[in-house]
Amino acid sequence: MVTIATGAPATVRTQRRAMKLSTRKQGNIFSSPIASFFAVLIALVWTIPTLGLFITSFRNPVDINTTGWWTFLSNPSFTLQNYNSVLFEGSGSTPPLSLYFLNSFAITIPATVFPVVLATFAAYALAWFDFKGRDFLFYTIFAMQVIPLQLALIPLLQLFAQGVRFGSFTLIPPLGITGTYIPIWLAHTMFAMPIAIFLLHNFLTQIPRELMEAARVDGADAFKTFRMVVLPLSVPAIASFAIFQFLWVWNDLLVGLTFGGGKQGIAPLTVRLAELTGTRGGDWQVLTAGAFVSIIVPVAVFFALQRYFVRGLLAGSVKG
């Protein structure tokens, strides 16, 4: 209560905030040691499965199959052999995981860059161009989130393989891109559009109108305004969506499986791991090390950029 005597507005504010903090703490019996205990307990339970996998991936195969991973302290062993063999030694005609790792990057980078750029374009137009039916168009695009991936799979696969024909009339010829990454890039880009446009539009409408007016008065056209005003201001929003899209594509199984499945040259890590779980379900030295190879990238991205990730999440929920 000493601070009241000084009377300066700033101190009053600090003091009030301090009071609020303390009252909150008092009022919340859950912020007692018991509450903390339960919170930590839940966090531990949540971590144990991943920890078990992580520890197992560094044990030698004999130990893995004869003792529980939780005995590693009394029975310590450490080896990088599991990683070496899954990453660099293929089995029979199947290439090693490092190749699928490359595939995952080769799929994820364009499948993040393309939708981010094209959705920013569209969001800009929908936010700042004046034209008839603008709101209708925006809500239509937003509503397209209702279309589940599954609804588009078969026709899109057919389109990529055979083109589109009505009777004898060829609307789109066969594109000849099956077996390359291109269908996977395109599919991810298409499926990301509604949510990407929605999220970025929300952000771009918040740019102050005066700023856009000022750019126009200075003689900047739509393109220059985009380049000089909109783009620099929307970097945080773009980053936060880009992280989302990156994680989503990296972790995806369905698109990778349907548009790149069965083709060793282009299938991502997830597809290969799902396959391994089916064919070599008991080989835990392979599965644990393999799973960690696939997990490490998104988890690193997540911890490095958690702030953006959370912001993106709060801005518009998630897709899936």
Binding site: A35, G68, P148, W185, N251
Partner: protein, 336 residues
């Protein structure tokens, strides 16, 4: 480079990937050059032309992708669902009748229903509890990060993690390597063959999804709790509301709209769940759900009619939930 090295390279598995990596670089480069070129040209066109050009440049690609990638395929799937496996003969609603009369598919629909009820409720309840427990707690960030981390892991990765937890050792004399079996044995029980035993296997798969989605619920609800004005908290305190009663009477009502959004979002994800089932059981042992069955019918049985019908059923299930969320967003925009 010597000839033998070339042969070695050509034989290595990387030979198949090299042209593809090249394609990656070309793809990114072409895209970048196109964007720069279009901007360069557009900024040099006359005002009148440019006014029309800007719609093509900014809106054109997105609209084209949406029409080709979503609208056309959705309509075509609806169309295919009225045809037989070969897409040649019109069979009306037979695929839908099949879906709602076959015992296997009824089981799939029942499982999907269980998923969409249990996952959202469990994840939201646990997420809400953690959000409240960690509100103003020290080291809350660390606790939250640990619970949130599964969100970053792929469903496939999560499935492998949990398959290991559920590992079953048929030979009772050998020590367990799966945590769950070990716990059950330590408590004096006999572990069943977890993933092969219906109906518990469905709930074990559901646990994986809850493990992933709880972090999402926690983050959104925690942010909503932080946004409750301090005056409200103080006023409730003057009224003597504490702990549980404050949680029930103040916290939950104040963040109810966020709770509903979390519930609907997780319900949609649960309706579409595919990876977990595909990786852990392949849909066997009575664990299949609609998205997995859709894949099975379309890509294993190659029956585009039945696959299409299942996709449409999935769409009809998702529709009301997303329409609800859409209306919420419109309402919020109208207020702002």
């Amino acid at each position: 480079m010597s000839e033998s090295m070339w042969i070695h390279l050509a034989k290595s598995p990387f030979a198949t990937v090299l042209p593809n990596i090249l394609l990656l670089l070309i793809g990114i480069a072409v895209f970048g050059v196109l964007v720069v070129l279009i901007f360069w040209l557009a900024e040099r066109t006359k005002d009148k032309t440019q006014n029309r050009l800007k719609y093509f440049v900014f809106l054109g690609p997105a609209l084209l992708l949406l029409v080709i990638g979503l609208i056309y395929p959705a309509i075509r799937t609806l169309f295919l669902s009225l045809f037989d496996a070969s897409s040649a003969n019109f069979i009306g609603l037979n695929n839908y009748i099949w879906a709602f009369t076959q015992p296997e598919i009824l089981l799939v629909l029942r499982n999907t229903l269980i998923w969409t009820i249990v996952v959202p409720i469990a994840s939201t309840a646990i997420g809400l509890a953690i959000a409240y427990l960690t509100d103003r707690m020290r080291y809350a960030g660390l606790v939250k990060s640990l619970i949130f981390m599964p969100m970053a892991i792929s469903f496939v990765g999560a499935s492998i993690i949990w398959k290991f937890v559920y590992n079953y050792e048929p030979d009772l004399s050998k020590p367990d390597i799966g945590v769950l079996s070990a716990i059950v044995k330590a408590l004096g029980g006999t572990p069943p063959n977890w993933l092969l035993t219906a109906p518990i296997n469905t709930f074990l798969l559901i646990a994986v999804m809850v493990w992933i989605q709880t972090g999402f619920a926690m983050i959104v609800l925690s942010a909503a709790m932080k946004a409750i004005p301090d005056d409200v908290v103080e006023a409730s305190m003057l009224d003597g509301a504490k702990g549980w009663s404050r949680f029930r009477r103040i916290t939950v009502p104040m963040i109810w709209s966020s709770v509903v959004v979390v519930l609907t979002t997780i319900t949609v994800s649960s309706l579409k769940v595919f990876d977990i089932i595909r990786t852990m059981t392949g849909g066997n042992f009575q664990t299949s759900v609609i998205a997995n069955e859709m894949y099975q019918q379309s890509f294993t049985a190659l029956d585009y009619g039945r696959g299409g019908a299942l996709a449409i059923i999935l769409f009809v299930g998702v529709l009301p939930l997303i329409v609800y969320n859409l209306r919420q967003v419109r309402k919020e925009r109208a207020i702002n």
